[in-house]
Subunit: 352 residues, 2 copies
DNA sequence: CTGAAAGCGCTAACAA
DNA sequence: TTGTTAGCGCTTTCAG
């Protein structure tokens, strides 16, 4: 490995001169700079980041801590972040937690010891106290999910509004028995979405608890099972709202497997607009999320924070709205199948 | 930041004792070790990787250089690798090249200067000479794609066989005019797949060049356009083979948009088994790839290499076979639409 | 404008 | 079993 010393020796100058020349220090003559950079290139010099980091400079690494990269949601985010950060001279590292707080802690430890410039995190439901402690010492932003203990820096979407829009679309189509399959309300996103679901239902309507299926995040199959449970109810729902990308995929798989006719027998609204949602059955009506833009905004802001050394603890929150994309998987509830309950009361129609 | 010295001071021992205790050195008494680890935890000590690296030890970072993480193909790989490496105590960093060799070079430079333990790479078509030079100095493995200049360490799938299987399936169903949409043959995978396509066609059959659409990798829309070109041919194909995940998605999107009836008007075989391929139209007949297992094998082997300090230049190649998954998107060519050419000759039926 | 020297946190050779 | 010391490559005072 060729060091600053080697260059210095070759040029018969001191190491510090070389160091300064490479750092484009104003006190070094142009002539010297030129010679130095020339020789450096010639000898194939690459700065030793480790040594640099020892001098207090943090690395150009930014940790991205997330549940699972296979989720199209997150891989889009990773891509956007990676682009932004790269432009800012940073490199993204990937840490998957599988929604396990201990794994999360482990990763944060690693990242800390690697002197990362900062961390962008999609936190687990209840981060470990040690994780919180460690994050306090680093620039960090929460993405999508948000946990109070991790500070006020957050980029996310309006989860409540998203599911509200999805659900009220169905309500407006005359649906009463609407099933919901989403993440546990332990997750901040989970509870926000559930709230949106409830808000959109006509006031005073009693929701059959069996219609609300809260599942652990992380697997498509869990979504499938929940769908199966809903469909095998004595009086199954006439419509289903999926409350996450993965549950959406679970719902679609199960409906396809069971051969349920959509939208004739069942209306469905998905979450997110992953590849394939458009071509599923009659086209999936779904909640479109500005994931890419959101992540880009987050990345840009993060770079700004670190580079310009802005106060890292100042609260900053960005909430992006979701938009309903209506395709073929939802339709007006046919009077026949929509067995009305007792006295049909007026629906409070609300626009999302 | 709490250092080894702080712990030493607190315990009134020397820094090296603490260092050794933490490294579980055999010469340190159990009692001391216990006290040290206790205090270390209490004070929230995290080893400074930078300092460690300065001592010659390479970091626990492994670079993963790939075209685009949004491709489900690669995000699966990333997930598998991440799992493996984590178990081995490594951390994965993400470097997206967008199939640009200069970006690739840039990333490899960065990774080198970050002292990564090694690099796992899905190389661009023609890596820059400097990239080659840099990689020579690092443990590295090629994944999926393979370029001769980057050495003999490769984990991939049998691309030729994969497309061969896809194509000969169609041939056996009586198709003659089979279109192929795949990556440029500049890419090693691209040319291997194209080869498989040609091999599967009945001998002596002249392929209309217009039926073979080679496109640049990286975008679904390019696949759509190619599909459009195929469909608007004077005598369009009766079947299409997609030669990559992204072109598959492009084909599906376009066919859906145009409302082409599959498999009645057109048979389709996809590449890879992404989420949604199962539920597209009548279910997509496709080539299933053992991506996850492949990546896991690669990760395991990589960890082994680095940890056990095995000779890094010893050639090692692992080729995984693909398997055809027959669903509803392919069917026997109806005599009517399958305008036979001159004298129908015997097909050489081959099993993939 | 340039040089000398100290020190970042850790490890390892050498001493005790 | 533990302590002392030197040095990894770089930045950064402090002196020229």
């Amino acid at each position: 490995m060729v060091t600053i010393k080697d260059i210095a020796a070759r040029l018969k100058v001191s190491p510090s001169t070389v160091g300064r020349a490479l750092a484009d220090d104003s006190r070094i003559s142009e002539a010297t700079k030129q010679r130095v950079t020339e020789v450096a290139n010639e000898m194939g010099y690459v700065a030793n980041l480790a040594a640099r980091m020892m001098r207090g400079v943090s690395s150009n690494l930014v940790g991205f801590v997330l549940p699972d990269i296979r989720n199209g949601f997150y891989s889009t985010v990773a891509h956007a972040l990676s682009k932004c950060l790269q432009r800012g001279g940073f490199q993204l590292t990937l840490s998957e937690t599988d929604d396990d707080r201990l794994v999360e802690l482990h990763h944060i430890r690693e990242l800390t010891s690697a002197n990362v410039a900062g961390i962008i995190i999609v936190p687990t439901a209840k981060p470990h106290p040690d994780s919180v402690k460690l994050l306090k010492m680093l620039p960090h932003i929460q993405l999508l999910r948000r946990h109070a203990s991790l500070g006020e820096q957050w980029f996310g979407i309006d989860d409540t509004q998203a599911i509200y829009a999805a659900t009220s679309h169905l309500v407006q189509l005359g649906h009463h028995r609407i099933g919901y399959i989403g993440a546990t309300d332990e997750l901040p996103t989970g509870s926000a979405r559930l709230k949106g679901f409830h808000q959109a239902l006509p006031r005073g309507e009693n929701v059959n608890p069996a219609l609300v299926q809260l599942v652990a995040p992380g697997s498509i199959d869990i979504g499938r099972e929940a769908t199966r449970r809903l469909l095998s109810l004595p009086t199954p729902p006439t419509a289903i709202v999926a409350g996450s990308v993965q549950t959406t995929q679970g719902v679609l798989e199960e409906l396809t497997a069971q051969g349920v006719r959509v939208p004739d027998d069942l209306s469905v609204v998905g979450f997110g607009d992953e590849i394939g949602f458009r071509w599923w059955g009659p086209g999936l009506t779904t909640v479109g999320l500005p994931v890419y833009d959101l992540a880009t905004a987050c990345g840009l802001w993060f770079v700004h924070q670190i580079k310009d050394n802005a106060v890292t603890s100042a609260p900053y929150t960005s909430i992006s709205p979701a938009t309903l994309i209506v395709r073929g998987s939802t339709k007006q509830l046919a009077p026949a199948s929509g067995r009305r309950i007792a006295s049909p009361r007026r629906r409070t129609v609300v626009s999302g």
